[in-house]
Amino acid sequence: MAWEYSARTKEIFMDAVHGKPGTHMGEIEQPDGIGEHGSITCGDALRFTFRVRRHATDPLQDVITEARYLTFGCTSAIASSEALCTLIQQGTYTPIGALQITNRDIVEYLGGLPDQKIHCSVMGAEALEAAVFNWAQKRGVDLSALGIDMHAEEKEEGRLVCQCFGLTEPYLKRKIRELGLKTIAEITGAIKAGGACMSCHHKPGGLRDLLNEVWGAQPLTLKILPTPPEPREAAAADRPPFSPYQFNKQVEKALDQYVRPMLAKDGGGVEIIDIKDTVIYCRLVGACSGCGGAGMTLKLMVERSLKEMVDDRIRIIAV
């Protein structure tokens, strides 16, 4: 997949990785607000911190003076983080005021993002929200009294819909509404849900159903096939009518009493790799293994001995 980034995104990324003056890489020590989003397992993670100029009496009049990020992620994740910090520092925002910055502002600042990379901008907006929540706790600001719902509960509670990225039904429904997501592809592009194993797309209570709940049922334009069954593990092969344990014991006994002493005369030995039914997979070890007749030795001597002593159905395969 060749890159479809805007010139602006590329420029912001390169400035960021080269630590050009004016960029915002880093972490503020003892920040007034810290927020994280994503994880290294999911492929991208952002730690966002900010500092405020504290108002003497009213925390709501705190003003953000500095914003920094550390990001693990792709080109657009790093550019989105840089864009978020730039947007915040360019304006004069109170932490509450900064919540007006949405992922769309980040996309616009970057001169657009490819559809499947929209989630990078959403990650920025989410980390900002989390940092404001953290600031509110530190400053004793009651966000719910201000009518701001930080949705802190919905990630822990609620039915898990996308197992791969750990996303719940309340969170997904809110994001579908907030971001105006109309298709499964748009959901995956914006918040990654359904982007890995894809099993949550069409199952009951899955992404299709959530879209229908939020927007009303859509006329089907494609015939939707049921989710294919996952490949099953191989069932155990048929076993011989006698106990495999007893059979293996008898083979080992015969080898020890007769075959191994014979081979040992030439400084060799035989190693069992596996026994399946009456087929014995083995390898010659020691001096015999370099011998040109190794295959024949095994086949004739070992097989004949074991047939006589244990079971005439025995077959030897040299590996």
């Binding site: 990785v17 730690r47 992620g73 792709c74 048929d238 596996d274």
Partner: protein
Amino acid sequence: MRTIYLDNNATTAVAPEVREAMEAYFAAEYFNPSSAYDRASPAAQAIKRGRETLAHFLGGVDPSEILFTSCATESLNTALYGAVRANPGRRHVVTTAVEHPAVYEVCKDLARSGLEVTFLPVDRAGNLDLRTFIQALRPDTLIAAVMHANNETGVIFPVGQLARVTKDTDPAILFLTDATQTAGKLPLDLRGSLAHVDLLAFSGHKLHAPKGVGALFVRRGTPIRPFMIGGHQEGGRRAGTENVPYIAALTRAVELAQTDHEAVETRVRHLRDRLEAGLLAGIPCVEVNGQGAPRIPNTCNLAVHFIEGEGMLYQLNEHGICASSGSACTSGSLEPSHVLRAMQVPFTAVHGSIRLSLGRYNTDEDVDRMLEVFPRIVANLRRLSPYWDPAHERPRPEAEAMMQGTAQ
């Protein structure tokens, strides 16, 4: 800016000799090789000669055992679906968890249509366990499909031995190998070390022929049904007018590989080893994926902890260096490479893989340039990473503890 091409497992440059060999069939010799008149004879001769050349290349097999196709993916689809359709009594397939999608996805499709598929795991180095392979073979096993060398890590599987064990267990089980990454790099002796392989596929564009031509070896007597029907070409086993210029190109590419592959591979191995040793010495917290396993000599797949692959590729791109990554962000999916996940690469590095694959046109200069720029590129991204302590050039303490965990 000069392009430094380190992505030869994706495709290779068309060799000038190859281009020259195909040109006549775009111009004066445009005729349909099936036509009766004399003017069509050079086109028909080119295909005949190509079949003989490939037969010789594969250890002296019979030319009738070679089919020309459009790519390795077509060859592999033909082999798998063709085997299933010809053997309705057998409903079990053995393959590995690290196959190329041209096998992996076809096997998943077979599972969806009711067959049972066993995907064999690999260990941390990327090796298969012989005992696990043996245990997977069943009385109803139809085919075992095991790649010769992995396209991402270069790890070589002992297909000669696996094929022999398969045939000794039950001669009716077919053995297919995807030799796309080994054709031209390792000997493919279908009368010697690979004498028990029934089906072998590869493409032209990994050995300096153009994209759009491949081959499938089908050992005489192997029951498979054709994938494309509607013509007598390729003995009715692959219908469609032959792609004469591309077959001529593949022929020439195979000749080139035969002439000098040992010298080229020795040189390429030396470059790869120097590159790998230099990068390991110059960058902390880096591992070679496939370390300790036998590998083809051109591939170096690195796991770089705590950064993401796409940002590395993008910066390399700015230096004119072409490479690839198994990270989620560089694939269509949001999941990182199935190969690296099967190898249980720690989740702190599975998004940070980078594959450098060399070829006959790489030079010592290319390696020098990579050794110069890549450590800086990694350092740039780690400075931004929430898991890295750039002051001490090591992971942050809480991140270091995560390095053993695997992504599942």
